[in-house]
Symmetry: C2
Subunit: 401 residues, 2 copies
């Protein structure tokens, strides 16, 4: 079996943890499996490098920032290879150049374009454990790039796809994917299996276990993902194609507290208004989530939408720049302390009344709903962030127990 | 003019120093020159990385050690590019992959084989300052290698040769090449010019300003070297082909205190004995310096030689392994606290009596000579290390003043 195992920065944060990860990989290797390990930078080392950069240049060129922070994973992988060598297991560390991990040239937020897996295959055939730097790539001109948030997960899934691995294990500090964040909802329980689509909704909704980029890629290439704990040997949660098992109505409740709502009031009611607004934001790489359009007073319309809380100031600045030209409106309102609470489940497509049940839970808890958004397998509501934990517990209790 | 400027780890040890180096490079750039900067790892960072490695594996694989320590220079060059960007000068950092700095596969001690200067030329044509990682390379299979001691000097000279640079400035913490180490000999004075050959003898004799690998390469490709201080704007010492100027009899006095002498007593007097002895040592990459063979008692012969003090234990172990087979002898003696003091000067080839004058200086100072070795442009003596400083002062006073 060919297994790709990905460990995050906390799992390789010091010598003891590096040795623990090494042991875990060696166990698979000694059972006869081919093992590819993807590592993030140790502990807080990426943050430390960024702080060093900003001390020298508060606004460092992104190309140079990628050149700098990419050393973090190179340190992890070489130390891991040394740890394995100390245990008398042949291992080799490889960086993005060495595995030809090609990406676009979007520094600090590049997307993978291709991987040449020949080098890795050759090393595996020589019975070595192959340890690859996560998070980083190279563009066509051999400049170093990084993949942005969730980058190491994406590296692991991409390698699993390129190598046609039997599975891709993502190690984290929780036992798997839960029906809700167990730190907030006491009754939350671990799921054994979840479909790619449900996982995608949960990932993009702030469940925080896996990033949606990696889930999207796993779905695209049919890579079987396993989310499991690096602290124990529990089975974890398998993420794969829709299974035949009887479905739970709702697989999980997720919450994203990093949300702000912007309301554009009194826009002219004519074609292209929405396009222009969101095109301006897209040009500045500002991701917009929930969008709601309603009829305003006197033949105008209102558009409300949410952005990540840390993008709201840039979004407002971009919009302000166009108030005199393509974005003529009465006023722009902003609400910063918003949470998005969602229920996700493939089961809800064939079950009426899920939305009603969710709203009932919130009503019983006395929580006011600001906006509602639905898709085939999820229902999201925006509420005051102060009530987020209460809302999650109320909804979880209603659907799951 | 195309100038290659190399700065060592101390010169880029912190933010202030990085900014100072940036200013210095920008000054040349703003005069219209093309500037290529070669940097070592910051301050003690290489030592720290090695300590981290040894903590995980006391005997780390050399391939992985190179993979690890090479991050040090990548940090320096990216931070330098950021510092220049903060001063609104276009700069780009490049690592060994990006400039195709190809080497042999001798990890931790690789030798440069070729450089593809196209990328650097393109960046210079775009009027960027190009900042290149010193000390590191890649082998044919794209594994990371490092060049060993003096590696960054060698990188700088190799780049200067590949780019046909007008000069290669090596920045250090002294004003240039001195007639002797000014910390030991008070009257030592700075040389304005020195030939490659004299510099080679001084470098290999422990003058410590430049490594002989870089001087050899400069000589081979006719690269004009300038050794100068990173702390001031003094002119420094130019190292170039033999000049027509009137020669000083002796250009410098050098001392290497890191020497041990091994004496092999009572070897059989037959062909191949010396070959076998030094072949064993060469197979373990142990460099032998001064060799002296003399006739022993009863038809045997004695061979004495020196090695670096930190290689003496390995040398003895290697020899011990062959005592029963190819290295039959009466006994092996070792003297650990030896210094080699040398005078160097192209002028001495045409001047009789230089050796006599040197021995007189030592005799006057009451210092016993253990071994003597001479070449066309140098005379070296081995003495007790305790007398090294006294010997240097006595010899310097005799020849230079």
């Amino acid at each position: 079996m060919l297994i790709v195992k990905k460990f995050g920065g906390t799992s390789v944060g010091d010598k003891e943890r590096i040795n623990r990860v090494a042991d875990r990989c060696i166990a698979d290797y000694k059972e006869g499996h081919d093992v590819v390990v993807v590592l993030s930078a140790m502990g807080k080392s990426t943050d430390e490098l960024i702080a060093k950069a900003k001390d020298i240049n508060p606004n460092p060129p992104k190309r140079e920032l990628d050149m700098l922070v990419s050393v973090g994973e190179q340190i992890s992988v070489s130390l891991m290879a040394m740890a394995m060598a100390a245990k008398e297991v042949a291992a080799v560390s490889l960086n993005a150049f060495q595995v030809a991990m090609h990406t676009t040239q979007a520094y600090t937020n590049a997307r993978l374009t291709s991987i040449d897996a020949d080098r890795i295959r050759a090393e595996l055939e020589a019975r070595k454990i192959v340890i690859v730097t996560g998070f980083q790539g190279v563009d066509k001109a051999d400049n170093v790039t990084t993949l942005g948030r969730g980058g190491s997960d994406t590296t692991a899934v991409a390698l699993a796809a390129a190598l046609k691995a039997d599975k891709c294990e993502i190690f984290t500090d929780v036992d798997g994917v839960y029906t809700a964040d167990p730190r907030i909802v006491k009754n939350a329980r671990k799921l054994d299996v979840i479909s790619y689509d449900e996982m995608l909704e949960l990932a993009s909704l702030g469940a925080g276990v896996l990033h949606n980029r990696s889930v999207e890629m796993a779905k695209k290439y049919g890579v079987e993902l396993v989310v499991r704990s690096s602290l124990n040997f529990n089975e974890g949660t398998v993420v794969k194609e829709d299974t035949k098992m009887e479905k739970m109505l709702v697989s999980g409740v997720a919450c994203d507290k990093n949300v702000a709502r912007i309301a554009v009031i009194g826009l002219q009611d004519q074609p292209g208004v929405a396009f222009k607004l969101f095109n301006h934001l897209a040009n500045h790489n500002i991701n917009v989530d929930v969008i709601l359009q309603s009829i305003g007073r006197d033949g105008t319309k209102d558009i409300s939408f949410t952005v990540a809380a840390d993008a709201v100031d840039e979004a407002l600045a971009v919009m302000e720049n166009h108030r005199q030209t393509s974005l003529i409106c009465e006023k722009i309102d902003v609400e910063r302390n918003i949470a998005k609470v969602s229920v996700v489940g493939a089961g809800m497509t064939s079950n009426a009344g899920v939305a009603a049940k969710m709203f009932e839970a919130l009503y019983d808890a006395g929580i006011n709903i600001k906006m509602i958004s639905t898709s085939e397998i999820k229902i999201s509501v925006l509420i005051d962030a102060a009530f987020a934990d209460g809302a999650m517990n109320a909804i979880h209790a209603k659907f799951i127990g």
